[in-house]
Symmetry: C2
Subunit: 417 residues, 2 copies
């Protein structure tokens, strides 16, 4: 028996004396702590917390010009990977801003209208259907970089990405028996203003989800607990929260929501191609208001996504768009999901402009603000005007970051508006 063996036997003997230490129900006393070992396990048993050194939070920086919506922005500058922690998911509350406090036992989803068999489903009923879990981003069409919005959180923080679990809406519609000639669904939420919207049947039968799960647990209250509609790749507004009713119709409805949320009701709103968001990307590091401490190697990193499907390619420019390099894709690629990209970069201490550009599986390419303005036949100044601007579409133009010689990072669209 060597020395280690002796130690081990002594150890086990001491260990045995601790057998009753952690009583049923958890640790009831902490052993003596040494060094920086501070937190006994008890406090964090049921539902763990993040480190007190981690202080990243969402912000709700200012009111919408109309006072009709309340926006809470995700801290993209601190993001890693592609999953947004549910506690940091962006959220938008519409007047009167209240989050419905719904008892899931009492919640029901009604499917009616042009169907053979109207359905009223409890949450337990829904869980008897086959589910699917998919990683999808959500983005508000109000996510519009302006020169006045100095950080990536403020300029682009109305996008987030989660694993969503739920029942394919197509299964429920097949169960209900949709009539020939039904071309639209009207989805309605439980909040005071109902959050209703018209959506095309083709999309409903394709990949919409009636989602009860988000990142492995029930959908969070701010994201629609206990049930929300997930419409992959369509603008955030389509993804009706606190979902309680789906009406099958043969026509687009001008709902309160569609009527209320935009200054000019655009007939294009009723088109599939306008709901579907375009390819977009944003550099999260280095980004606005950050500071590079010195010259040398850095990892430029960011997120890319598209309503048109999978990200095919992300390019990064470090010279304001003169030359482009393919970035490395650093996560799995899921369709209609955030995709993490990165590029090794050696900063030589000179002023430069960083840009990223996403190309999606359809071959669509993210435009510069000049290309974007040309496409929409608007002056750049109008594109870069805060809402209301008469433009309710997806603002997917490239957001450049300027690195000054002192390492300070500032918004690259300043001076254009």
């Amino acid at each position: 028996m060597n020395g280690k063996e002796v130690d081990r036997r002594r150890f086990l003997k001491k260990g045995a004396g601790l057998a009753g230490w952690a009583a049923a129900g958890g640790v009831s006393a902490a052993t003596a702590q040494t060094g920086d070992s501070a937190a006994p396990a008890k406090d964090l048993e049921a539902y763990g917390e993040r480190s007190h050194f981690v202080t990243s939070v969402r912000i709700a920086p200012d009111p919408n010009p109309f006072g009709l919506t309340f926006h809470v922005f995700t801290p993209l500058q601190d993001s890693v990977g592609i999953i947004t922690p549910s506690s940091l998911h962006y959220t938008i509350a519409h007047r009167p801003y209240a989050i419905p406090d719904i008892n899931p036992e009492q919640h029901r989803l009604m499917i009616h209208g042009m169907v053979d068999r109207p359905l009223i489903l409890s949450m337990a009923d829904l869980k008897r259907f086959p589910s699917v879990s998919r990683i999808h981003y959500l983005e508000c069409n109000g996510n519009k970089p302006q020169p006045a919005y100095k950080t990536v959180q403020r300029a682009s923080g109305l996008t987030s990405c989660s694993e969503w679990t739920g029942v394919p809406l197509s299964l429920l519609l097949k169960q209900a028996g949709v009539h020939n000639g039904a071309k639209w669904i009207i989805a309605e939420g439980s909040e005071d203003n109902k959050g209703a919207i018209s959506l095309p049947m083709a999309k409903a039968m394709d990949d919409m989800l009636v989602a009860y799960g988000q990142n492995g647990e029930p959908v969070r209250p701010q994201n629609g607990f206990p049930l929300r509609l997930l419409v992959p790749g369509f603008e955030g507004l389509c993804n009706v929260k606190w979902l309680r009713r789906i009406k099958v119709t043969d026509q687009f409805y001008m709902t309160f929501n569609e009527f209320d949320r935009y200054t000019s009701v655009d007939p294009r709103m009723a088109q599939l191609t306008n709901y579907e968001q375009r390819p977009k990307s944003v550099i999260t590091f280095p980004s606005g208001e950050q500071q590079l401490p010195e010259r040398g190697h850095y990892q430029i990193t960011g997120l890319a996504w598209s309503g048109g499907g999978a990200v095919r390619k992300v390019e990064v420019s470090t010279d304001g768009g003169k030359t482009w390099k393919n970035a490395e894709i650093q996560s799995a690629i899921h369709r209609m999901a955030h995709t993490r990209f990165g590029l090794d970069w050696k900063w030589d201490g000179e002023e430069c402009v960083l840009m990223s550009r996403c190309t999606d599986e359809l071959g669509q390419i993210q435009p510069t603000v000049f290309e974007f303005a040309r496409f929409w036949k608007q002056p750049v100044k109008v594109v870069l005007t805060p809402p209301p601007d008469g433009m309710s579409g997806h603002h997917n133009y490239i957001l450049p970051w300027k690195v000054d010689r002192d390492g300070k990072v500032t918004h690259g669209l300043v001076g254009l508006a």
Copy 2:
């Protein structure tokens, strides 16, 4: 101008009057609430919370027979999708059970031993390397279903799955310049007992990650904040938390951890094939102590994974293993990751036994407890004995659930031990 148009104009006018309502910094007053609209947005602005109707928690039900470890089990019975919320990730604390409270600004990772250029890296240094984000499960080899463990949480809750972000260890080792003849790394944590372990160089150069991100935010304290080693597919113990040192060596070290954690030090521990976990699956619904309210259609659902790579197939039996059906894979399949499966099932009200069986990309098939015992040359009774049982490997045998005629679900291994 129709009635709607009039309403809309009146509305916008009223809305404009609310322009200053949501002052910078967030909502400072709640408008009158109606119905069940209770929670003003303010409370949930910075870092959102789950609904108060959601009460799923981890448990730490009883001490290890030696009193050496403290286990906190994930509530698998409530899981959806493949991501485990970080707050519900299983965790194991080793004596003296304390979670190091590490200031990330002061944390360093040292890489030394048989290298040309020893490295001491800060967290900021690490973030200058290219990162990758991958979804991987972790499972403790102590995750051993026993007849006495009645729920799926208690029987199998020492497994969880997250998106992990970090630097491939291979990049850091290349940077350090590993000597010829270096065959092992010794990874060490910051806790009082150091949690060190020997790991083969081949795996280090393949897919190990030095991870600082978990599910989109910094690794949680209970999972190793600010830095942990991720060793995809290897038993949980290998994934050193609070990682501070990696020593490159030409031999396996008998560390305190390896010495301490097992009743018999098995020479196979030094073999790659013993670290790597085998194919496994578990039905999370219906599972132990749950109650089926009535005959009829249900969705059998669960999780499958393997240390050997991707899940190729999951089969489900509803007749105790006499016949098997292919389950539907209901999530993306990632290598060494939880994979969600499901199967439509009509319960006829008779007693039956539900089982799931995972086959991985290597063609390995999850065994029954009888096959498992035969393979390990142990009586079934020994396999089903709570630790210490002389068996420190991966307990991947099938966990059957028995459905009684009254709909009560009980443990299917009762009576064998």
